[in-house]
């Protein structure tokens, strides 16, 4: 259980950064940390005590050993890619905003009326 809690803790740290921090880069990092936390949760859920990587080798062709759960691993791969896509888009937006304002501080940028 403690592992799950640590993953949730990582998620909480990321959420804290996104909600509280006033620097665009810090917010991007918060998003990164949240993504790590979610991937961490998925891989924790997939582990089976004593399990091997879900790759059959020629030696064990006859009797596949106890494997860990391959499905969450496939999900994580997708999730990593989605995270990378999000980060790429965020970084381009940061660059554009920096070009327009000369700062990455949201308290200087946010002049949209609420």
């Amino acid at each position: 259980m403690i592992y799950y809690l640590l993953a949730a803790g990582l998620l909480a740290v990321g959420m804290y950064a996104v909600l509280v921090k006033r620097n665009l880069i810090k917010i991007v990092m918060g998003m990164l940390i949240i993504e790590y936390a979610v991937n961490l949760m998925l891989i924790l859920v997939a582990y089976r005590t004593g399990g091997q990587a879900p790759i059959v080798t020629e030696q064990m062709r006859v009797s596949p050993g106890p494997f860990v759960d391959p499905l969450p691993q496939a999900l994580i791969l997708t999730s990593i890619v989605i995270g990378l896509a999000l980060v790429a888009l965020m970084v381009t937006l940061c660059l554009r905003l920096y070009q327009r304002y000369g700062t990455l501080d949201t308290s200087h940028i946010r002049r949209l009326k609420g």
């Binding site: 998620l11 990321g14 959420m15 996104v18 665009l24 917010i27 998003m31 949240i34 993504e35 936390a37 979610v38 949760m41 998925l42 859920v45 499905l71 969450p72 999900l75 997708t78 999730s79 989605i82 896509a85 999000l86 888009l89 965020m90 937006l93 940061c94 554009r96 905003l97 327009r100 304002y101 940028i109 946010r110 002049r111 949209l112 609420g114």
Partner: protein, 515 residues
């Protein structure tokens, strides 16, 4: 062309995806190719909708793998309603964009992203697999982030960043919930999951996941505590995209997913109270924030929050009447809000401003835009016989009837609903008065009507507004009631995807089960 349903369903995603992938390539060859391909894809989606119109619900197994081992697509009443709404509104938006987008550079990426957004939404509403739903939700969401920033002006970039951050957090919450649900049930297939959860004893974790989903999808649907991004993002985008976002995206990504998960999958008792509370909150706060606005598009954005409150209230009630009202209002809002955003786009494009105080007297120079705008305003304010009236009426009656479950509070809620409707009317009378009537300011003397293509799509949507209003006795049983029945039929959903004996044979025995 006589395809089975299983053959038709993948095309809903494949056609716009193909268009999106081809657009950057063919645009090198021919300048207008992006527009042409988008139009073809839009028409193809409409044809597909006609093809599936009369058919009974059915599923499609991707790659030939039986669910729960492979991914399945499912078309039931609820998905059908959403697919048709998406196809109709996006076709109108594509036609409108043909001339509207001439102001912008990089139209190839624009149409590519638009197609990706449509593909993503179709993927979400057809998917029968939780993780697959998430992936397509991300496609639609990411393309919408990029499209909000499409103008690359300061405001647009800021709005897009805010939208991206909140949307990204929402997606992560949803994925975290998916991870927990997978651990709990060992499956990702929605029907399989529903069966396992229904069989098990009550579980605290399900509530936790429900909270995560409510937060995540609530953020996507811009319900009130999570609405901060919408009033920035929706007005900042180019008008066709505003129409897509307000008219379709918040519904397909937010409300549809909530209905599907809370009604068909998660066994929850308390969800309806939470939905009703969120609905009422969105309704009231949204309309109060809208009344003070002078920016045309921003005003519309706040009204989107408020109207989504109606939808959620109806859905939260959970009674057959309330659910029907909520879903009907979802369709109606999709039509009239996209029409309003397109009208605001025409006005902005012709006059160069969105500030209501600087407008006036547009009836004379822009009759088509003004007329359609009036139709949409009357619809959203709930004036008979336009479509908004009927759905709001149904929701109000359903709320009052809910007194049997909720007690006298229901009458208060119904009264609040009527009051919000009245305030919406006041707000739109203001729009009419300042934008369309009165004297034409000197500055706007040379204003001309929008182009033919834009007017065409405005008129089409306005006809739909009136048609759904006058023909509501037809639309309700044909379109809305199947959707309502699909949403309320948890067992039917399971049976449709995984007939009971099938699942015992495959999952419990673990034997091979090909086709």
């Amino acid at each position: 062309m006589d395809l089975t349903l299983a053959q038709l369903l993948p095309l809903f995603v494949a056609v716009p995806l193909l268009a999106a992938f081809l657009i950057p390539l063919v645009r090198r060859v021919h300048e207008q190719a992006a527009e042409g391909l988008s139009l073809v894809a839009g028409v193809a989606l409409l044809v597909l909708c006609v093809q599936v119109w009369g058919r009974p619900a059915g599923t499609c197994h991707m790659g030939g793998w039986q669910p729960p081992f492979g991914i399945n697509l499912i078309l039931d009443g609820l998905s059908k309603l959403m697919v048709i709404l998406i196809a109709v509104v996006s076709a109108c938006v594509i036609v409108y964009a043909l001339t509207y987008m001439k102001r912008y550079t990089a139209r190839g990426p624009f149409y590519s992203l638009l197609m990706l957004m449509i593909a993503g939404m179709n993927g979400v509403v057809l998917s029968g697999d939780l993780f697959n739903l998430y992936v397509f939700l991300e496609i639609a969401a990411i393309s919408s982030y990029a499209l909000v920033a499409f103008g690359t002006q300061e405001e647009e970039l800021e709005a897009a960043f805010k939208y991206l951050v909140l949307g990204g957090v929402a997606s992560s919450l949803i994925l975290f919930g998916i991870a927990l649900l997978y651990s709990l049930t060992g499956t990702l297939n929605l029907a399989h999951m529903a069966r396992i959860l229904a069989g098990g004893e009550p579980n605290r974790l399900v509530f936790f996941v429900a909270a995560l989903f409510l937060g995540g999808f609530g953020l996507k649907a811009a319900l009130v505590p999570f609405h901060a991004w919408l009033p920035d993002a929706h007005p900042s985008a180019p008008a066709p995209i505003s129409a897509m976002l307000s008219g379709l995206l918040i519904k397909a990504l937010g409300v549809y997913a909530l209905v599907r998960l809370f009604y068909n999958v998660l066994p929850l008792e308390g969800a309806s109270t939470a939905l009703i509370a969120l609905g009422i909150l969105s309704m009231v706060i949204g309309v109060f924030l809208a009344v003070g606005q002078w920016d045309f598009k921003r005003l519309l954005a706040y009204h989107s929050i408020s109207q989504m409150g109606y939808v959620l209230l109806g859905i939260g009630l959970g009674t057959p009447l309330g659910l029907a009202g909520g879903l009907f209002h979802l369709v109606n809002h999709g039509v009239f809000k996209s029409l309003l955003f397109l009208c605001s786009g025409s006005v902005e494009r012709s006059t160069g401003t969105r500030n209501l105080k600087e407008l006036g007297g547009l009836w004379k120079p822009m009759p088509v835009t003004s007329a359609t705008c009036s139709v949409a305003s009357l619809s959203i304010s709930g004036v008979p016989p336009f479509n908004g009236f009927w759905s709001k009426l149904i929701i109000i009656i359903a709320t009052a009837q809910a007194a049997t479950q909720l007690g006298p509070v229901a009458y208060v809620l119904a009264a609040v609903t009527v009051l919000v409707s009245f305030m919406t009317l006041v707000s739109f009378v203001k729009v009419q008065k300042y934008a369309l009537f009165g004297a034409l300011p000197e500055r706007l003397a040379r204003v001309r009507e929008a182009s033919t293509a834009m007017c065409l799509s405005l008129v089409l949507l306005a006809v739909l507004c009136i048609g759904l209003g006058v023909g509501s006795f037809w639309a309700l049983p044909k379109l809305v009631h199947p959707a309502r029945d699909a949403a309320r039929d948890r067992v039917g959903y399971m049976e449709r995807v995984l007939p009971a004996p099938e699942i015992e044979r495959m999952v419990l025995a673990g034997g091979p089960a090909d086709e």
